[in-house]
Amino acid sequence: MSEIAIQDIIKPENLVYEKTKLMTDKTLSYCPGCGHGTTHRLIMEVIEELGQENETIGVAPVGCSVLAYEFMNVDMQEAAHGRAPAVATAIKRLWPKKVVFTYQGDGDLAAIGTAETIHACNRGEQIVIVFINNGIYGMTGGQMAPTTLPGMKTATSPYGRDIATMGNPLKITELVAQLPGTYYVTRHSVHTAAAARKAKRAIKKAFQNQLDGKPGLSFVEVVSNCNSGWKMEPVQSNIWMEENMFPYYELGDIKVDGKLLSK
């Protein structure tokens, strides 16, 4: 067998996939195995494919993805905890032709920012919200989130989430789907290549809705793992997610083109 040199392989005609230039070269701050990096990349690929690199303003949250602006190579604003939908509302109202999105975690979007989330959805702001739900506060060290499952152990529910005293996990995505202001509401995951491809199609549809001036907000939830917060190895955390998170947070479209899908 003859030796194949690496430079013989690196040729334009052999290129099947490359990192979008809308992701910076900065090393991701996320734990290995976490879904944030994949979701970042999908959003940036979509913005590049839609040719909106110079027309997009993103709003980063507080939480693990507080530094999203370090990785997403578009104009970005870093919002206070939970306030991204209000920040995005004004940007879109003042620049109606620009593409505006928020990227938020479960604590940001479904706890401290519930009012901003619901009212931006209810007003039908023409923005995209990408919501990462991993059922835990990752950044602050694994405390209970509004989406933490019943019985799930976290730093602030060390004996498991007791729904009698700590409340039920909040299905905020189903909640916002009920509002007339939402145009597209869907839930995905990015833990397998097939799931990531589906999630990307959803994210693209969400941004396309905004570009087409569809009446209302497009809301994409990504159910993700938090292997560090869940205290599992990445592969194990993805299995746990499939077995525990997906039955509660069912994947798939909830509202399409302004119409709720019947189950």
Partner: protein
């Protein structure tokens, strides 16, 4: 001569917002300033100039709308009253950190807590000492008339963009609600997108072709970098202190005593010094126009001139008086006369306080 109208202070502020070329007003109703958003909604500036007016779900949302809008280089403004301004402190701290320009008008009411809806000046500390968390200051303008409710809007935008900072207009329920003649300035054009791109390279409105992206944030996890950012902010505040002090001296040339006041209390004090002068008491007023930066130099000059005493007249339990004392440094007498909780001084009781606390005290 500009257009003359008889207006409420709140209405003058709202009309000035349109005429100053605001791109957006985002607010939440609260007494005694709800006329601002009511006037704007009725006036339809979206038809007059293209200005956006939006009723937010809370003051928290409103201030964060200013963060978003101001961060794109647009002229944005909100107004509220004391409890609502407390809710905005988080956003103001973030905007100070991220250096985002905007105007926030506070039509102050009595406190603490829900307090009441009568005029007060008890938000002085909150306005001039930072208000939210972290080391920052905001320029604060204090109108004393309906005319100034209008005039201070374009001045505030100039300061906000010159220094990339939120600017506070601190008025009170008396000036917000009272009607006076006001000469309105002519409509100013709204800034164009092209002008924003030329003037404000920091504005996040879509990454320019072939250039680096812009990021607006108040976060830096590296303490040494954050300290450097704080040095930059402090340098900026020093520049503002050096260049932007505004005040008015009323009948101070021959004065032996000085009343220090601002806003409504300075109006009441004007009547009080007329009464005093009728009795032969030589008293003048140092009216603060900027509450921060605080007019240290004119106070210092008055001390050197030999003023026998300063009376700080404010509708609070004694807030501004602390800055007067810090400036006077015990070189002469400084006393405070306040009414609290929404009660306003009468000119007679101001004169009485001058006599008992300063002249005879």
């Amino acid at each position: 001569m500009g257009e003359l109208r008889l207006m409420k202070g709140n209405e003058a502020l709202a009309e000035a917002a349109v005429r100053a070329g605001s791109d957006g007003y985002f607010g939440y109703p609260i007494t005694p300033q709800s006329e601002v958003i009511e006037y704007l909604m009725a006036e339809k500036p979206f038809e007059r100039t293209g200005m956006v007016v939006l009723q937010a779900e809370s003051e928290v949302a409103a201030i964060n709308m200013l963060y978003g809008g101001g961060g794109t280089g647009k002229k944005v403004m909100t107004s509220s009253s004391s409890p609502g301004i407390s809710l905005m402190q988080e956003g103001l701290s973030y905007m100070a950190g991220a250096e985002i320009p905007c105007i926030v008008a506070n039509i102050v009411r009595g406190g603490p807590g829900l307090g009441d809806i009568q005029p007060a000046q008890s938000d002085y500390f909150q306005s001039v000492k930072g208000g939210g968390h972290g080391d920052y200051r905001l320029p604060v303008l204090a109108p004393a008339s309906v005319q100034e409710m209008s005039d201070f809007v374009p001045i505030s935008y100039d300061l906000a963009f010159k220094y990339r900072t939120p600017v506070l207009i601190v008025s009170d329920g008396l000036i917000g609600q009272m009607m006076e003649k006001v000469e309105l300035f002519d409509q100013m054009p709204r800034i164009t997108d092209k002008e924003i791109n030329e003037k404000y390279p920091w504005a996040t409105n879509g990454k320019p072709k072939g250039k680096e992206r812009r990021i607006l944030t108040s976060l830096d996890l590296d303490p040494h970098k954050l300290e450097k950012h704080n040095f930059h902010l402090q340098d900026k505040y020093k520049q503002i202190e050096a260049n932007e002090v505004r005040y008015e001296l009323i009948d101070c040339d021959d004065a032996e005593y000085i009343i220090v006041a601002y806003g409504s209390s300075s109006r009441i004090s004007q009547k009080a010094i007329q009464l005093a002068r009728a009795e032969g008491i030589k008293v003048g007023i140092l009216r603060l126009i900027t509450l921060w930066p605080f007019p240290k130099k004119p106070i210092d000059e008055l001390v050197i001139k030999g003023i026998k005493g300063f009376l700080a007249v404010e509708m609070s339990a004694g807030q501004m008086v602390e800055d007067v004392k810090l400036t006077v440094r015990e070189r002469t007498k400084v006393e405070h006369f306040g009414r609290y909780g929404g009660v306003i001084h009468s000119p007679e009781e101001v004169l009485e306080a001058l006599k008992t606390k300063i002249i005879g005290g």
